[in-house]
Structures are given as C-alpha cells and as structure tokens.
Symmetry: C2
C-alpha cells in the first residue's frame, strides 16, 4: 500500500496539496478543484479548503503541475546579445506580452554563435519551455538537434530574422524599405557618393537592407560602387574598422545598418578628422531616446522594438494554445526620423525637398 504523503509537513518546507487536504479533511482532488476552480465544489467544502489554504499559505508547486500538465508557462528567448542596445526593448516587449498571459521568459544570449545557440535550445527544450522566441544565427543546426526539436514539438517564432527551415512564423521589420528610405533621404540631402556599412550579408535582414540600399541608389540615379560598401557584423568594433575602410574612399554620405556600427563609424571618423555632417551625411538604424540630445543628432530609421517583441510573444502564445494554423510573418513598418546628421533638418518628415538640394549646415542651439 502506497503510504505516500502521510508525513506532516516539515517546518521550513512549503506545504503541499496533501497538507491542505489533511488540514481541511477532504481529498486532494477537492483541493485541486478549488485551486483551479474547476468542477463545482460544495460551498462548505470550498470554504474549509480556502481557510486551510490561507492558514498554511499554500501555493501550488508549479514544477509538479508542469510535469502533470506538460505545460510550463515559460517561454525561452534567445537573442544575440542583450547588451546590444537594440535588444533590451525587444525583450521588454516580449516580457510584457508574456506576463500579460501568465508566461515567464527564460533569457539566453547566443552571441550569434551556433554552438552556443544549439546548447541553449537544447537546454530550453529539456526544460520543456512551451515555445521559443529566436533570433537565429546564420548556420544550420546539427541533425540531432533537429530531431529533438521535432520530438518535443513546441512552436518557434523568429524575431528580426527569418529562417524558413525552422518555421515560417516570424516578426520582422521592413528592412528593405527602411534602408531604401534612408538612402533616398541621403540623396535628397544632396549626397552623391553614398556608402554602406552593412550587417553580415548572410543574415536575412542585412541582405534586405543591402537590397534596399542598392535599389535606392538606382532609383536616385546614383552609381553603385563596390568600394563604398563594407560588410560588418553589427558590432561596434566592426563599424570602427568599416568606418576606416569606407571613409578613406571619401564618400559624402553613409548609411549604417545599425546603431552599434554607427558608433564605431563615428569613432573612426573622429580619428581620421572627418566630421559628420560636414564631411559626410549619415543615416543610422534604430532610434534611442538619447539620440535627440547629443550631437551630431542622428537621422535614423526607427524600428518598433517593443512591438517586435510583444507581437512575437503574442504570436508564439497563440501557437502554444494551438490556435491559428497557417504561417504568419508580420512585417513591421520602420520610421525615418530626420534630425541633423545629413546636414540639414527637415522639420516635417513629409516635406519633400527637391532632389539635389544642397545641404545647409544647421547650428543646433
């Protein structure tokens, strides 16, 4: 005969559903029923149980519940690096949405390194997260991981980068358009030799930005010059190196594909004694609250970071619930925020100065 849970609760140990059952003289089923208020429980019993719960300060052990339920109410999120200022707001968005639905976030940093990413996914799967939000590295998983992903069978939603081999559910931004608008803006500001500091072209969004860059040049009647595009890796250091390489070609305009590389670029520019916006116009990606207070005040293409995270989490949670069926990729719209790093300030973003208008220097107060 299984004696089971007959011991009294040890002091300094949280009480279990058995303690509550004993305290209130009912079965564990009844306790479970009132806790989850399923199955109608008689008023008297319910009150006895509730009293016992309060008395013992009972809280269900969610690990045990997860084992029984096969549901942990936690979702895994893997970003390249939370210290890259782009991601905190994305994570925040995801956490807000998760929280709203009673989910928690298990956060991992992959450093865009495949092996690390694989280890993290494996761990998340072993911990039986209900779903994973992933900004995928470039390379493919090893076969055993694919197998495990299939076995566990939880949904993934991609964030910022697509990777159709895994899933077609993704929340991304319209990077093509963002880059296109950035470069057109540069051209409207009179810049003719426009350079690009790109992300890693194997990353889907870097490719889209590159494409937008190229098409905008063509649309503006500007020549594409291979020497004016440098590939970085979205990190500051690569922007610094790219800046040195690019600036030595004397471009009069630069589109930098993310903020960190812009920082690197500006450092290089300072070392080389070339100034923004006097010597080159600049459009960056991602906006931050502080960009409006420091000089040069960057003109930049803002991506809706919070929304990116929250929509991804919402979609994932829908999938977890088994709702929906066909793949959805949400493409969020970027927004050009014109400030001063192109050499002139448009005070109405809708204003369309005529092409070739010469840059005016604006003194910021």
């Amino acid at each position: 005969m299984p004696v089971g849970h007959n011991r009294r609760r040890k002091p300094g140990k949280a009480s279990s559903i058995y303690d509550v059952a004993r305290e209130s003289g009912v079965s564990v089923f009844t306790v479970s029923a009132v806790v989850n208020n399923k199955s109608h429980v008689g008023k008297k019993l319910r009150e006895r149980v509730e009293a016992a719960i309060r008395k013992l300060n009972y809280r269900p052990n969610l690990i045990a519940r997860s084992l029984a339920n096969r549901r942990t109410h936690t979702i895994g999120m893997i970003v390249p690096d939370i210290a890259n200022p782009f991601f905190p707001m994305v994570v925040r968005g995801a956490e807000d949405a998760a929280q709203k639905h009673g989910y928690n976030l298990l956060l991992c940093n992959s450093d865009d390194n495949l092996e690390k990413e694989e280890r993290e996914i494996e761990l998340l799967l072993s911990k039986r997260v209900d779903g994973i939000l992933l900004t995928k590295t470039v390379e493919d998983f090893r076969p055993s991981l694919w197998q495990m992903i299939k076995d566990v069978g939880i949904p993934f939603v991609l964030v910022m980068r697509t990777y159709p081999k895994l899933t077609n559910d993704a929340v991304i931004t319209d990077d093509y358009l963002g880059a296109y608008n950035a470069v057109c803006h540069l051209a409207r500001a009179g810049r003719r030799r426009i350079g690009l500091i790109s992300g890693p072209l194997k990353v889907s969004n870097a490719m889209a930005r590159w494409q937008g860059f190229c098409d905008a040049l063509r649309a503006q009647g500007l020549a594409f010059d291979q020497k004016l595009v440098v590939e970085g890796d979205y990190r500051t250091e690569s922007g610094f190196r790219a800046g040195h390489a690019l600036l030595s070609q004397r471009p009069d305009g630069i589109y930098a594909a993310n903020y960190l590389m812009t920082v690197g670029l500006l450092k290089a520019a300072e070392e080389m004694g070339v100034a923004c916006p006097d010597d080159f116009g600049l459009v960056s990606f991602d906006d931050y609250p502080w960009l409006g207070v420091f000089r040069p005040k960057l003109t930049t293409v803002e991506l809706p970071k919070h929304q990116l995270g929250s929509e991804a989490a919402e979609l994932l949670i829908e999938r977890i619930g088994g709702r929906r069926t066909k793949a959805v990729v949400k493409k969020l719209q970027p927004e050009l925020r014109v400030r001063e790093s192109c050499g002139f300030a448009l005070h109405l973003s809708k204003a369309q100065p005529e092409r070739g208008l010469r840059a005016r220097q604006l003194q910021s107060t």
Copy 2:
C-alpha cells in the same frame, strides 16, 4: 499493479528514460546511472545504454528531474526595467555566470512597482527557482509573501540596492565614493554652484550618492543649497523635469545620478537654451560605449555593470550550493572617466589641476 510506463513511445513525443531502458533491455536505474554517470555501470551495459540513447535521441526531461531533485537550475532575476540601459549589461553579467554553472535566467521587470515585484517573486518561488537576484523596490513585502519566502527557503542576492530585511548578501557599487569623486571633479573644474539630480532618496544607492554629494561639497568648501538638489526617479522624464527646475537656479555645475536622468536634463537644457559645458559643467553616472563619440562628451562615473551581475550570480550560486555561511556585501569600485562635459579635458585622470582653475573650453575635433 501499476502498469506505468509500458506504452510504446508515441511518435512525435520525446522518448523517456523508460524507452531507453526498454530499448537497451536494462532497468531505468541503469539508464539513470549512465546518464548521470554515478554508480559504476558495467562496460557492456553502459555501451548498450549509450547506443540506445543515441538511437532514440534521448534527453532527460528536466522538469521531472527538478521535481525529484528539488533543484531547477534556474535562477530568477528581477530588475526595474531591462530597457533602462544600465541593466542589460548587468543581466548579461549574471547570465554569463549562470550559464557557466549550468543555470538559466528567468527575467522579470518590476518597473520599481511593489505589487508587480510581489507577483513576480511569488511566481518565481512557485516555479521553484533555486535563487533570486533582486534589485528591490522601496516598499516592504506583504506578510504572506514573507511567509512564502521563508517556506520555500531559497537564497536571495541583492543587486545594486541593499535591503537588510530580506538578506545581507548583496553586490553593490561604491556609490558614495562615485558621487564624491564626481562632485570633487566638478569643483576642481572651477564650478562653485553645484546642483544634484538625485535618484529616489529612499533607494539605498540614491541616498549614498546624495551623501557623497554633500560631503564632497563640504570637503571642497562649497555651500549646500537645498534649491540646488532635485529628486528624480532615475527615469528620463524625471530628469527632464528636474533639469527645468534645477537649471532655472543657474547652477554652474551638475551631478546627475544616472544616465537616463542626464538625458532628460540635456533635453531640458536645450529647451532652455543653456549649453553644456559652456553654461554648466556636468558629471553623469554609468558609462556607455557611445558617450565617447557624441558631444558633449560626457564625463561620467562608470560602474562595473557586467561584474555587478556576474558577481551577484556567483554569490547566489555559492549560496544555492550551501557553501559559505556569513553574509557578504561586495562593494565594487566606480571609475571616474573624464571627458569634456565639465568644460575641460584632463588627459590623465590622475592629474590634479589646482582648485578654482577656470574652465577652458575645448573644441572637440
């Protein structure tokens, strides 16, 4: 007779220890033993088991293991707001240390709101995290939460803020010293009417910074003027309001207790048409890679953010392991990084210009 785990593994369902046992013709004990390599298992059996594991692509279900072990290898981390640029690097530090020891991070944002914090802690406790890293809000927990904390009995380590009612384990920075140095630097740069934009004085570190501010004034022979100190809440908006209030008093120097409030202050300054460093010298807190490339180039007191997180996690993990016994508060050293926002640049931070030296305007190239 408990039939238990006799069913074949359903396709599309991860295999369990029973599947491996059946496949290799041994008992679950043996499988468990080789997985955790405890208890010597004969070479032949071990190889059979390993083969079966590979064949079935078996991975232990960590939820089940946690239930049996009472250990989740997960730690909870609650920060006020991951979107505050101060915290990503702290979280990164914690995650790095956690990962090194095989732990994961469950991340929560409290928004410095007590109720939210309480809900999150309760959830983390229910999910049986092995320990919690906490940047505590100001107010006290409600009694039932205290009870639950006692019942579950996991360790807490405080991050950036102390809160002795909960634990004396903490990793903080020497905020008193940081503020003291900041204000002395301002004084050395010739500033005489020095204002303070403070954090919420109920927060331990804000109080320490306030104290450092006061003592530095005294040490520099400057008068304390109540009208020159404004209390904010570490958010940008409060810095903006504080900036308006403070700047109208015409200080010639300001120490702002964190970066976000500095951003708000600079916005206010711009609106009011007063410039840094021409009209007022400024020392901020927290350094960021980009502060060196934008103007005004902020002189600031850097706090070792990554270390803050990693040391906190290391300490927590020690506690989880039951090692150590007496309380430890680690106080990390801040570092004054002199740039240009005080009106002159010291190229050697050790150089001690004579007191009262008039600020020189430096053109940054």
